[in-house]
Each structure stands twice: as C-alpha cells, then as structure tokens.
Symmetry: C2
Subunit: 381 residues, 2 copies
C-alpha cells in the first residue's frame, strides 16, 4: 500500500492533526474502569462545548449514518408523520431510515443545489398538523448546501410542539450550530468531518423534549442504538458495548484543539477558506453547484466544466498533484466535484488545492490561465 | 489521565502489539478510492484465513454486539422460531436481540458454568420442527465456557436445514473454529479479543445458505446493518458508510501477525496458557467457575474465595501489581473473577498475572502461599 501522504480535501474523512493521530497510541484500558470514565468525562465536556449545549451528548462507535438511525429509531412510533425536506443524497437517506423504522414521510421536495426555506417548513407544518417530527440535513454533503434558515425552523418546531432532528454530520465544528439556542432536540455529527478526527465515531445530543418522547416510545430501536440503554450506562460513565477506545483518545484530543482555537475563530477560518474557494472558482469560470445564498462553508461543490471528465480531473489532481477531492453522489455523480473545507483547513490547504485544480484542468486541455484562482484566493486571506 | 501502562488481562479489550498500534498512524485515505480497496482486499484475505472460510467476510464499524444484531436482524422474519441455549449474559443478550427483531425464542436453559450439549440441541430440534435458526454463543465470555460440541451442532443444523449463527466474539483467533467445516452459516467476532487489535470493529462471515434466507427476507434490518447493502458495496470494494480507516489498518496488521504465527501454533499457545492458568488456580485452591470439560482457553473464570471481596482483589491487582482483570457480569457479578487469555498472551503474561493474583490475595489476608501458583504454571510451559 502506498504510504505517500496526500492532502485529503474530501468532504470527510479529512486531514487529521498529528497530535490527534498520536493520541491513538495511548494504552488500551478497561472500558469498565476509572480511566475510561475519566476519558468519557473529558470527551463529554468537549462535546458540550462544540455542540453549545447543556443536553446530554453521547458517543457511538459507528459512522454518522448509524447515529442518524439511532436518532430516528428512538423517537419514531409506527405511523408517525415525519416532515423531511429532500435536497440531496443524505436527506434521501434520512427518508429511507424513517420509512424503515415505521415512520410516514411527508417529503418537501427541494431542487438539488438549493436549500429548504423556513417558509416551506411553515407551510408543511400548517398542512400536517399531526406531524411528530421535523428531520433536516443541516448541511447536504452531496450538494454543498447549508440550510441557513435552520434557526427559524427550530423555533417553528418548538412552537408546534414537534421534535427537530438535525443531521449535522458534515458541518458541526465548522460552522455555527448552537444546539440549545436553535432548539434542536437531537443533533448528530461524525468524527471525521469538521472535528478533524479519524472516522469511526459518531456523536449525538439528546434534549429534554426528545427524552420525553423516547421514554414513552412504543417500539424498541435496534439493540445497538438504544438511547435508553446508552443513557443508563452513561450515568455510570460507561458505554453499553465495548467502545473504540483508541478513537475516543483521538476525539478527546481533537476536542481539546477546538477549545484551544475557540468556536468563533474556527468558524471564521472555515468561512474565510470557503470564500477563498468560491472566489477562485469564479475567477476560473467554474460554477458552484449550490445556489449562492446557501453555499456551504464546509463542502464546496462545483460543476464539472463541459467537455472535461470529472473523474479524470480528480485522478490527475490525486496522482500528479497529490490532492484528493471527491466527485458527486447519486444522480449528480458525474456532474460535480466536491472539496472538503473542514477541520484543519487553512490558507495553505486552500491554495494547494486550487493550484492542483488549475493544473489538472490545464493538463486536460481545459482553457484555464494557471494562477488566476490562486491570485484571487490569496487576496481573501 | 494516567499514562502508566498496565498489563491488560481482561476478556477484551486486550493487549495490542506495538506493530498493530503503530499501524493506526498510517495516513487517512479516501474510503471510496483505490487505496482503501487494496486495504479491504488485504483485510478480507486475512479474515478468510482466520475464519477458515471461503465465504464472504465483512467488517463493520461497531462492537461485536452490533455485528451479532446485524446477523440476527438480516435472517429473522417476524415470528420465526429461534433455538437459543442460554448459559450466561451474552446468550441472554442474543435472546433479547432475537425478540427485538420479531423472532420467537425457544430457550434451552443451561446452568451457568456449563455448556449446552449436542444432545440438548438434538432434542430441541426434534421438538421444534419449524425452527428457522439455531443461535449459539460459542464462548460465553461471562462464564468462561466454550461450547465444545459446536461441530456436532453445526451438522445437526445443516441436516435439519436451519441456519446456525455463532457468536464467536471472545474466541475466534484463539481456539479452533473452522467456519466452513463446522457448517456455521454466520459467524461473528470482534477486533479487541483474540485478534489482539484495538476495539471498534466487528467481523461477520455470511455463507451461501444464509444468503438464500437474507435474499428472501420479508422485513428489512436496521439501515446501518443491512447485509445486502454491505454486500453490494463490498462488490466494488467499499463499505456503505465511512469505515473506521485507522482501525482497518490495525486489523490488517493484526491479521498479518496471525498468519505469520499460523493458526495451529496460535491455538496451541492459547491452550497452553489456559492450562497454566487452570493448573495454578488449582494449586492455589481457587475453583474455576466453569465445569472442567467446557472450560474456555480464552476466558478463565474463577470463583472469588469466601470472605474476600472480588472487587478488592481486582483493585489491589490493578493498583499495586499493575495487572487488570475483570469481575463477573449479571447475576454472578460479585462471585467470580475473569482473566482474558487472549491475543498476545504468553508465559510472561500468565506468570505476571498469577503472581499479581497471589500477592493480592496475600495482601487481603487470604491464606495463600506466594509462589505456589507460579511454580506449577511454569511447569506447564
């Protein structure tokens, strides 16, 4: 296997600081002992800081998808109506999970590249007075779209006395998301995105109103994702099943780095890097896939220019310029490129990525003046 | 957090070789790219060797419990009868999982400390002609019991045309388990036991007869544990959701170490270490909890002597002698001690553990002649 390091500019997993990688080397410990209890305390405190919540936050040994299923399966009773705006692959997945656990999906279809609006949610809530749940992907990783009106949606959910679940996998830690202030009842993220930790863990916050529903649930969730059992074990500073201890060490370190930097500074850094990307793309005559007012600061999506093969661009970037970016997903698999703007991203990573993109395009004989993107991006910083 | 290393003699997680720990530092890669495909190939080949199977073997980012739930939820249709011998905490968990996924449990109650016999399974199969599944914990981690008649049970399952699921979490890689030869349709293990890898991954083999059932299933399993989706992605050398890449590297290295040693030699080493433990316990007048003919080579369980507090023994061993062992689980939580005899275990670990146990007992004023256990154990090697 190649040991050569490439710059990972994927929308997850992303580059992990050495401090975080090295934390994985700490000794294996008893997950039912005092050392793990202390580790869990520390991780929990760090998560409450990043989630900006006083709610319980739990760590699961699973991908983010597992934690979203955990959220869904613990609050849905058979036949419950769930309002879901669908505007990409991950909101489609949300739909599938709700259906699989017996919920009835009320879909708000949204054109891909756009975000659902508070107005749309308002209408849906008026039309579906018996809806139990609003489930929203805050940042659609597949399209590079952020739901900027999420705070208004949180207010509406509270006023209508229904729960709000937010899938914040590709954004939490990279852009604003004060869970309590925005009335998010259950919020989910993954370790390998904006937290800049290796993949394998997922985090889930559960608020008071969500617990009321969970404690009255009629159907049990999957055994592995049972929040009541998770809460019971957490009360004695354990997890129900053997946790991925080495990854907990990494997460703990990643959370410390976030606290050292501070949330505001971190969000600003992500926003500046995103702005640099978007400015460079414009200068290169490349069109972002997402509508301007809902463009994500953590996942940059861009249309593949006509007459160029997106897979080829990625291959040249990866093999010649050592920068790894992603293609599209689902129905736009071939049509877009996606760049992760996450975690440790800074001026250096942005410029190297733009440089690789410019050069790859030139190598593939797409008309591009090398340096154009870099120049305007540099001015952003 | 204490950085001091202790000898981990738990029935999982267990001591991990430095080679395996260091493998986690390999670069984060694209889990939808060629490097991960190569890693998956290598891991898959290693797993087929350890499982002794030509069947498909998949890796899940979850604990072993998650993989057992995966097995159960993919093959059970509502109302299906499932025969389960129950003889400890993990076979009870198996029961709970089957119930949760709509199965009807036919329980074979077995006194804890004993193993179900082939005769009992035969009777159950005769009485329950419409049973669809036989689910057996091959090694009851909570009691230190191995089901030595599993090969006969596999034959019976095949003859009766029902599926056999084996939970081999705390034994695979430490004792004989030729999955194909023993007719095990689905076999599950975890990374942190006899494979000597950090926790966080679980492995599941799925045979042809199991696939026939899965492909005809009437109810979908949890989204995160959907074997059909896992098989689809595996065919293009991917996983459905982001895998714990760093742990895959560790697993790959752990599997290489196993291949270097060879299965027979590895099983013999575990057996010798177990024999040394049992011999020493006898010399110390400590009674193993498991019946003699079904004692496990990977989990050593022993009754706490009268008038001594088991928790206290463990505390003294951990704090004064730097050896970590486990207590009991469930209804025998206070009554036994459990020692992991797994992974890298060798003469050194066995002797250090016995020494710590002898000294802790002496410190707690239990009448024991220090050196008695060590002496007979050394003779075993």
């Amino acid at each position: 296997m190649a040991e050569e390091r490439r710059l990972i500019m994927l929308p997850g997993p992303t580059n992990v600081p050495d401090r975080v990688m090295r934390a994985m080397l700490k000794p294996i410990i008893n997950h039912r002992g005092s050392e793990f209890a202390a580790l869990l305390d520390s991780v929990s405190e760090g998560l409450k800081y990043v989630f900006e919540t006083k709610q319980d936050v739990y760590v699961l040994t699973s991908s983010g998808t597992g934690a979203v299923e955990c959220a869904i399966s613990n609050v849905i009773n058979p036949g419950d109506k769930v309002i879901i705006p669908v505007f990409g692959v991950f909101s489609e997945r949300l739909k599938e999970k709700v259906t699989r656990h017996g919920g009835k999906v009320v879909e708000i279809p949204v054109e891909w590249g756009n975000a659902p609006t508070a107005e749309q949610i308002k209408t849906a809530l008026e039309e579906e007075k018996d809806a139990k749940l609003l489930a929203i992907v805050y940042n659609e990783t597949s399209t590079g779209v952020t739901v900027r009106e999420l705070p208004e949606m949180g207010k509406m959910a509270k006023e209508n006395d229904i729960l709000l679940i937010a899938d914040a996998i590709s954004i939490l830690g990279g852009d604003h998301l004060p869970v309590d202030e925005w009335n998010i009842d259950i919020c989910v993220t993954g370790s390998q995105k904006c937290l800049a930790c290796p993949p394998g863990l997922a985090m889930i916050s559960v608020g008071k109103r969500a617990w009321e529903t969970i404690d009255k649930r009629a159907v049990k969730p999957p055994y592995y994702f049972d929040l009541i059992s998770i809460r019971d074990y957490a009360s004695r500073k354990e997890t129900p099943f053997t946790p991925a201890i080495s990854l907990y060490y990494a997460l703990d370190e990643a959370l410390k780095i976030i606290k050292e930097e501070g949330l505001e500074k971190r969000y600003q850094r992500h926003a500046t890097c995103a702005q640099a990307f978007y400015t460079a793309l414009e200068a290169l005559d490349l069109k972002p896939y997402a509508a301007e007012n809902v463009r994500s600061n953590t996942v940059i999506s861009v249309n593949v220019p006509r007459k160029v093969d997106g897979a080829k661009i990625r291959e040249v970037m990866r093999e010649h310029y050592k920068v790894v970016i992603a293609g599209g997903m689902g129905k736009i698999r071939q049509l877009i490129l996606r760049i992760g703007c996450m975690g440790i991203v800074s001026e250096a990573e942005v410029l190297v990525t733009i440089d690789a993109l410019e050069n790859a395009l030139a190598d593939l004989e797409h008309p591009v003046k090398i340096g154009t993107g870099i120049e305007v991006a540099r001015q952003v910083f």
